[in-house]
């Protein structure tokens, strides 16, 4: 049971700044995801928390105690790596028991804890196997058990499932979440997979170029991405550059209400989620009119690419499968909810049926 605080954490490798002043606090029992594209500094941040990298500046506190100068073997953290995590010359039992033995626990205690750990990850009875006799998913479960038996205050995971196939990844995610809730352990999970982050995290710290761009709950991050990077990175999003007085960008200002304070802006971007369109066939006056370029069956919904007159790229639209559309058909689109981004200011959410907020 513990909390973690990062205070202005900086890491530079030569001229490259990998982590650029990160402030973060993780609460007791919280599941936090560090999410971002590769090179955004998320793994470096995690490695600093584990003690494998020394911060260039800043401090790390666990339960209020500074651990910045502490080597990894003294820190109350445990980490699960992306791959090559198990020692190939040791059995599953020896892998899990190693950390316990270093703590000079009695043999009976070690055996009991290893058995409990394997139970927790659903691999009871695998003690004698060698890592080479396990599947990738089983290996990562053993790695998780090895971390958990040490009863760390903070559990760190560095893309632990990214080398596994999709179905297994989803199953292990569910299992990890169950274990995390059961133990109530503060957990930091690094991933570049936004779906993984959305499904696991209590809060997501979205990172870009060494900074935390937005720290929010998954639903907040999805509903109100704070900048265009967040808007594009989380979920599917249509980003339409526009100008209030320039209708040639394909967005007829008559049908797109912009917040009053933003109408004087030179450059605006409208962000619309694919599921936030109402589709009307045939198109009616006052709607955006476009031609269906492609339809894709996505299982429980349909993804449609629609070319709007004059727009540079087609817009993505998610629609119910109950409605039939054909390729080359002309349809009408009405945005039900969108965000307007102006440079260097908070985005404004617009829901046409509701009164316009002030920018």
């Amino acid at each position: 049971m513990a909390t973690l605080k990062l205070h202005s954490l900086v890491k530079r490798f030569g001229d490259v700044t990998a982590v650029n002043g990160v402030d973060l606090s993780v609460e007791n029992g919280e599941f936090l995801c560090l999410l971002g594209p590769s090179g955004c500094g998320k793994t470096t941040a995690l490695r600093m928390i584990a003690g494998f990298e020394n911060p260039t500046a800043g401090d790390i506190f666990i339960d209020g105690m500074p651990v910045t100068a502490m080597p990894p073997n003294r820190r109350p953290t445990a980490m699960v790596f992306q791959q090559y995590t198990l020692w190939p010359h040791m059995s599953v039992f020896q892998n899990i028991a190693y950390g316990l033995r270093l703590r000079r626990l009695a043999r009976a205690v070690v055996e009991e804890k290893v058995a409990d750990g394997l139970d927790l990850v659903g691999l009871a009875g695998y003690e004698k196997r060698l890592p080479s006799q396990l599947s990738g998913g089983q290996q990562q479960r053993v790695a998780l058990a090895r971390a958990l038996v040490l009863e760390p205050k903070i559990l760190l995971l560095d893309e632990p499932f990214s080398s596994l196939d999709a179905a297994l990844r989803v199953r292990l995610r569910e299992e990890l979440l169950r274990i995390q809730r059961q133990l109530g352990i503060a957990t930091i999970f690094v991933t570049h997979d936004q779906e993984e982050a959305l499904s696991l995290a209590d809060r997501i710290a979205l990172m870009q170029l060494g900074n935390i761009v937005q720290l929010d709950t998954p639903s907040e991050l999805y509903a109100h991405p704070r900048n265009l990077f967040a808007a594009e990175f989380i979920g599917a999003m249509n980003l339409l550059p526009t100008h209030p007085s320039d209708p040639t960008l394909g967005l007829d200002p008559r049908t797109l209400s912009l917040p009053p304070g933003m109408q004087g802006n030179a450059s605006l971007t409208v962000a619309i989620r694919p599921e936030d369109f109402q589709v009307t066939v045939p198109s009616e006056p006052g709607m955006w009119t476009g031609e269906v370029e492609q339809t894709m069956d996505m299982g429980h919904y349909r993804k449609v690419l629609v070319t709007l007159a004059g727009a540079s790229a087609p817009v993505k639209v998610f629609m119910a499968k109950s409605m039939e559309v054909r390729e080359r058909q002309t349809i009408g689109l009405t945005p039900l909810r969108y965000l307007v981004y102006a440079e260097e200011s908070e985005p404004v959410e617009v829901v046409p049926d509701r009164p316009m907020p002030q920018a």
């Binding site: 090559y84 190693y98 703590r103 090895r146």
Partner: protein, 303 residues
């Protein structure tokens, strides 16, 4: 070949026609046939003749009969036994020196990056490109009596008690260690680079200090590379000639120079043959260890 066809098709390449297809296995044997023949006629056959010669002797009736008399004689000759023991001792010491010198260098090269590392790597590989005989004469100039080393010690520290290892057993060890350090560092560095960082980081993460991680993770994972390097070094050192001939004492001597002296100077080819077969058998036992460790690695990788 004329091809007539309504579609004006191209002639089929001969290798693809069903009738003339060469089975892959035959092709494989054909590719190794030449080296195999060379090995058979120039190495295996004469070797077989020599071995056969050492275990037979003409009987009174003129025919050949099996006899181990030559070997009994070898092991009853004090000089021969002394030379064999000397060879084994020098080999063991050199193999140990090479490992003790090469492993720290390899560890350094594996875990540091930078200019100093590159320089050390270059220096470690340098002996690979120097012919043994040149190295031997260079070493004579360096470690010999009134050589560079002695003069340096005198000039810098006023040290007078220098005893040159030249023409002493230590001279052989120094020379062979110089010759073998490159391959030792190469193999050990390659072995170390196959251990991913994450395996060692995980060890420190669960509480091991560097020393514990080294003994419990690095060393067991290096077992095979160490075995390979030791067996390879054993084979090259045990069968070496140039360095012991030029840098070693006249007596006792290593099997290489001993064989040569028996063959040319003493003009006793049949005894030299026995010495060669004994040297070969000892090397063969060590080769077997080497081959076994390489094969088991292959099997593991394939599974």
């Amino acid at each position: 070949m004329t091809v007539t066809g309504s579609r004006g098709s191209l002639p089929e390449p001969a290798t693809y026609s069903g009738r003339f297809r060469v089975p892959q296995s035959v092709l494989g044997y054909a590719l190794i046939l030449l080296p195999l023949m060379v090995m058979g006629t120039l190495i295996l056959y004469p070797a077989f003749l020599s071995i056969a010669d050492t275990v037979t002797e003409p009987s009174s009736g003129g025919s050949l009969q099996v006899s181990l008399a030559d070997y009994v004689e070898f092991f009853n000759t004090p000089l021969a036994v002394r030379n064999l023991a000397f060879s084994l001792r020098i080999t063991a010491v050199t193999v140990a020196v090479l490992f003790l010198a090469g492993f720290p260098i390899s560890l350094y090269l594996r875990f540091t990056h930078g200019r100093l590392g590159n320089l050390i790597q270059m220096l470690a590989l340098f002996p690979l490109f120097v012919p043994g005989i040149i190295a031997a004469y260079a070493l004579i100039r360096f470690i010999g009596d009134n050589g560079w080393l002695e003069r340096f010690l005198h000039l810098l520290f006023g040290y007078e008690g220098f005893t040159s290892p030249y023409l002493r057993p230590a001279g052989i060890v120094v020379g062979l260690a110089w010759e073998g350090i490159s391959i030792t560092v190469l193999i050990l560095t390659a072995g170390l680079s196959q251990i991913p960082d994450s395996l060692l980081e995980t060890a420190t993460d669960v509480g091991a200090n560097r020393w514990q991680a080294f003994w419990r993770i690095t060393m067991p994972l290096m077992k095979r590379s160490v075995l390979i390097v030791m067996t390879l070094n054993f084979l090259t050192v045990f069968g070496s000639f140039t360095i012991p001939y030029l840098l070693g004492p006249a007596s006792p001597e290593m099997m290489g120079p001993y064989m040569r002296r028996t063959f040319y100077d003493a003009n006793l080819p049949s005894r030299a043959q026995v010495q060669a077969v004994i040297t070969f058998l000892i090397s063969a036992v060590i080769s077997l260890l080497y081959v076994r460790s390489v094969v088991s690695q292959k099997v593991e990788e394939e599974s």
